[in-house]
Amino acid sequence: MGLDADAVLTRHGRDRTRLLDMLWDIQRAWGHLPEDVVAGIAEGLGTTANDIRETASFYHFFHTTPGGRYRIYLADTVVARMRGYDEVRARLEQETGATFGGPPDPTGSFSLLDTPCVGLSDQEPAMLVDSVVFTRLRPGKVADIIAQLRAGATPEEVANPAGLPHDDVAYVDHLVETNVRTKGPVFFRYPTDYRSLIRDCLVLTPEQINERISESGLRGRGGAGFSTGLKWQLCRSARGERKHVICNADEGEPGTFKDRVLLTRSPKQVFAGMVIAAYAIGASNGIVYLRAEYSYLIDYLQRQLDEMRADGLLGPAMMGRKGFDFDIRLQVGGGSYVCGEESALIESCEGHRGTPRLKPPFPAQRGFLGEPTCIDNVESFATIARILEEGPEWFRAMGTADSAGTRLLSVAGDCSRPGIYEVEWGTTLSAVLELVGAQDPMAVQVAGPSGECVSVAADGARQIAFEDLACNGAFTVYGAQRDLLGIVREHLKFFVDESCGICVPCRVGNTELLRGVDRVMAGHAAHADLDEMVRWSQIIRGASRCGLGATSPKPFLSTLQRFPDIYRSRFRTPHGVMLASYDLDEALAGYDAAMRELEEDVS
């Protein structure tokens, strides 16, 4: 307790752009964001309390009202629901005496909250107790954790009884598994000497680096697949006094967890990629935007950065090269899927709500603080380090014509060996399924909810590649026993919850799609309702501001295409002219119910 606004302001240099850091400090100290402290921050920053609240209210993890002593966030994901989520959730309510989404238990010890995927699909169900993560939950395990917390242990003590130092990889490994299933060619192959790699790069001119990246054919690994070389050249040629390199580690796509594993096993490979980018575009400032769900990595990553600084691989006049000053700081998010969108991420780095910007201008032209910014995914930076190590030809020789190199897959769901796999682009769906030990697979969610739900029977020969089955890294297998329509609903609900709300097609349209699926599930839909949903999907995809709306109807559209029977089998035949979706019984039940409710008050 007791941290006041002034101390927080001082710690962060009274810099408005560091608002998220300030909010985290306050919340860690007070358990929530007390009004008077927020008012103090507002005064210190020369703004209003409402301005601060406007930012805070955008993020899942910031709370303006007190909760229980511990906030428990149970990840509500499709994979968790395959692995006993319901039992775990019920047991949590039973053991804590609190209800999900409701007030804390009567003793004020626990608040229960739902949260989307926390990047642990290979070890679900999982939960965060404040910032401490617990995986592979079972009802008994949950009961034990709650009992220990009740007995006075901190979440940290429960999770880390041996007291491992937080900046040690052993701590991270103790909390979560990394499940790396393949070694090489690009990732997890052998330790690299980053000192000599960076030294070798600095011998080249920035133009030569850019040429090598262009020659490699690398396309951004975040999902959109834009040419990294082109992006860097745009950023290098953009006019600006100062430039920035941002690493997007806001791995929010449900089902993906490869960036978490990269940051755990190969953090310096990622940071080396950022240093090379900084040199190539002429940047002085680096930011790693880490999703708040990965807070248990903070101390470990800070130590990696400190080691690089000590080695002279970060900081002023790097490797004695006058004029090349570059350092990296961590920016922890506040819980928001849309912050994975690059311009929303930049807004968040500036201490604002994660509302996507209109493009153009692109971040390479005007990004962080309006200055040219090169923003790439964790995997892209790690790949860059290897391209510079082995050469662009080596990289270009792997993969397909339009998709050079390899791709990390985060594999989860109905398979015997979930985890991280590196495959060459061009590998077929069937081959991946065999590799991971898929169990009676019916469908695969490729690239998460924003990707496609494909049919194992119809799409087995398709290739994981930008030109065929584009994939941002999520690969979730659904066995024949799974309720696909229920999964579609989960995914649409996710987009409804995560829409930032700035544009109507996304805010309203996704809600309409969700209602449509609910109608189908309740047996209140006819063919016309699906047509209506398809029309809504076109509006959402065509008129939304950012990638969230451009992809959010895909769970519906791709299953409608591949598995039309999950919809058709639930159709209702309309009677007469009344639409199937109009529930006459429900419509006429309200009056009698109201009269019963008022019975005692009328004569």
Binding site: A528, G576, V577, M578, S581, A589, A594, V602
Partner: protein, 210 residues
Amino acid sequence: MTPDGAARVHASHELPATPPPAQTVEARAGKIPIATISLCGCWGCTLSILDLDERIIPLLDAVTITRSSLTDIKRISGRCAVGFVEGGVANEENIETLEHFREHCDVLISVGACSIWGGIPSLRNTVGLAACLREAYLDSPTRVPGSPPIIPRHEEIPRLTTTVRPCHEVVHMDYFISGCPPDGDAVFSVLSDLAAGRPVNLPTAITRFD
């Protein structure tokens, strides 16, 4: 009289009517029959139809208004080319009337905010029907002091629906003329397009209000 001897209430379309003179029937032949009806709304949209002003006179050479909200006869005899519906669906009689119009009109048009999204009456959706009835009949400041607390309930009074819904959530609607109320020009534009057999073309200029 009904079998149990109670007086039977007649709906407006069941009341005896004098047939129009042969000359009138002849003059109407060949014209496009249209009908309008008001469900749960304020009739402001009907007034917009009156805002056609003198333009209604040449229009009546092409169309004939068989039913209008002004007579409030809720059933159509024969078939209509075009039906205009104002107001949303708030009780079971609205449902039946709307179904009847859908069955008897080739083209059915939602006119105005209530028809299109429920409008002002749908504000009750946010408080629930019981709270709404309590406010209207029991706690109303205009309730006669000392009067018994009564909420009307009778088999001949249509039951209110649980929530107020727009027309297109109950039956298929072909066109939507937005506004609260729509401008008379908007009604005129749609009506003259339909009368002339042209595709309906509502210029944004008359459906945008900001």
